[in-house]
Amino acid sequence: MTYIKEKGMKLLFFGAALVSIAAVILICVFLLASGIPAIREVGLFKFLLGTRWKPANNLYGILPMIVGSLYVTGGALLLGVPIGILTAVFLARFAPKNIYTPLKSAVNLMAGIPSVVYGFFGLVVLVPFIRETFGGRGMSVLTASLLLGLMILPTIISVSETSIRAVPESYYEGGLALGASHEKSVFFTVLPAAKSGIFAGVVLGIGRAVGETMAVMMVAGNQAVIPSSVLSGVRTLTTNIVLEMGYSTDLHREMLIGTAVVLFVFILMINLSLSLFKRRVK
């Protein structure tokens, strides 16, 4: 009796362990099976490199969305990476205890704020701000980048902080012993030693920025054309799906799934490069 119970439960646990594998396979199969035939129908190059997205005229080019995603992500990194890394350095090496605790919980809370709340904040604060300072309609690459930069901060900060803390104390002490100040020792001995972990944090941040949907949709303007300046509206891969999924049918719907396939491949590439990188470091 106990033997059966032991074996049975072991089998059950084994089954549970397989669920995540099954989930990944199912996601791949269902996305690819609905997306690939549609992409083939339009033609891969026309799909990826076409500059016009006009479902009504059967034009399905997602280049504007790919470029849009890249612009917005790049902008977010420009803001998020320096501030994120410097804040992580502050947390790990500079903050006195009475500043550390509130700042750390602030970072945790930032990670927990729902993206609709970020998006709404962007809509009522950032959009008017950009409109009044720089002109234009306010919903732009710049606005989306600013908001995304804020949203990826917690990811970059917590991963970077962990890796800075993992650097052996002797590196820092060695720096001090050679006559460097606290700051120089941190920046020129500890930080270079932590760079692989920091890089991992940045890559995770890229993943978050590429995948963010609702917040971007609320502030980016969503025109399906390649933006001509930082003040013009932009549509990303993710928002393209949400915007049109509700009313699309047939080929149009399948092309949206095709968009998701492209997004999925992007994310897989980011993930893969991260795990390859981690393995090389080890």
Partner: protein, 288 residues
């Protein structure tokens, strides 16, 4: 603060580079803190005056966009998602830490898939959910479809935190239990798991936070019906989806502010709870 800076400046008069580095680090931390304080203060100040008793009316109408139904639906969908994700996540973690031999291929494969799952954007989950649960399995736009989609989404989180918690239980506990004649199963359930509860719990709370904040994955799986769900097969919107819907219509700015406040308060409570659990119950893994 200025006195502190002055003292620093005196110490670094001949070392402007260090002073500059110090200043930039402080500035970055200040920006991070101010950004969060500004967002929260702005939402609270604009939102609290707009919180009215009508918003907590039990039914939703176009005149009164009550948020109570959405709040209750959020609770339903959270419970339902946890019902799927927590047993599977804990079971998987138990297999990986207690049963699988070290160096087993399965451990690394599951690790890679869990990492992949946690990197997938929520809109892709939403699309998958609408293709698989809604269409293929024929569950329709329903609480069940939404909860199943979300449970896949939070599965890696629960698996990873549980795994960490189980691994931090010292081996001597297991050996002691075996020494007393307990079987594997008994050791796992009455010795190892109880020790790991705080870690598991803080993972579950983080998962709840993700469910509450999720919107993109739910629009095409659970739908946007603004009434209290009557069964797990009825379509219903959660609070996040509710906030997105009314903010898009542009007519309900005041109500959107108020909804944002409620959502924010829920998230802050969940966050505080997770920190509290990790600290008070003696969990070792405080950073999720």
């Amino acid at each position: 603060m200025t006195g502190y800076l002055k003292r620093k400046w005196r110490a670094y008069r001949h070392d402007p580079k260090s002073f500059f580095l110090f200043l930039s680090v402080c500035l970055a931390a200040l920006i991070t803190m101010l950004a969060l304080v500004f967002i929260i203060a702005y939402i609270l100040i604009k939102g609290i005056p707009n919180i009215t008793p009508e918003l907590f009316d039990s039914s939703y109408t176009t005149e009164n966009v009550s948020l109570l139904p959405a709040l209750i639906n959020t609770l339903f969908i959270t419970l339902l998602s946890l019902l799927f994700a927590v047993p599977v996540g804990i079971g998987a973690a138990i297999y990986l830490t207690e049963y699988a031999r070290r160096g087993n291929k399965l451990i690394s494969v599951v690790g890679i898939t869990a990492e992949t799952l946690s990197g997938i954007p929520s809109i892709v989950y939403g699309l998958f959910g609408s293709l698989f649960f809604v269409k293929y399995l024929g569950l329709g736009l329903s609480l069940l479809s939404g909860a199943l989609t979300l449970s896949i989404m939070i599965l890696p989180l629960i698996m990873r935190t549980t795994e960490e918690a189980l691994r931090s239980v010292p081996d001597s506990y297991r050996e002691g239990s075996f020494g007393l004649g307990a079987g594997k199963l008994r050791t796992v359930f009455s010795i190892v798991l109880p020790c790991a509860v705080p870690g598991i719990l803080s993972g579950v709370i983080l998962g709840i936070g993700r469910i509450v904040g999720e919107s993109a994955a739910l629009i095409f799986t659970a739908g946007t019906v603004a009434e209290i769900a009557t069964s797990i097969f009825s379509s219903a919107r959660t609070l996040s989806v509710h906030m997105y819907s009314i903010s898009g219509e542009g007519l309900y700015l005041k109500q959107t502010y108020a909804t944002a406040v409620v959502l924010l308060v829920v998230v802050i409570l969940i966050n505080g709870l997770s920190g509290f659990v990790a600290k008070k119950l003696g969990g070792r893994n405080t950073d999720g």
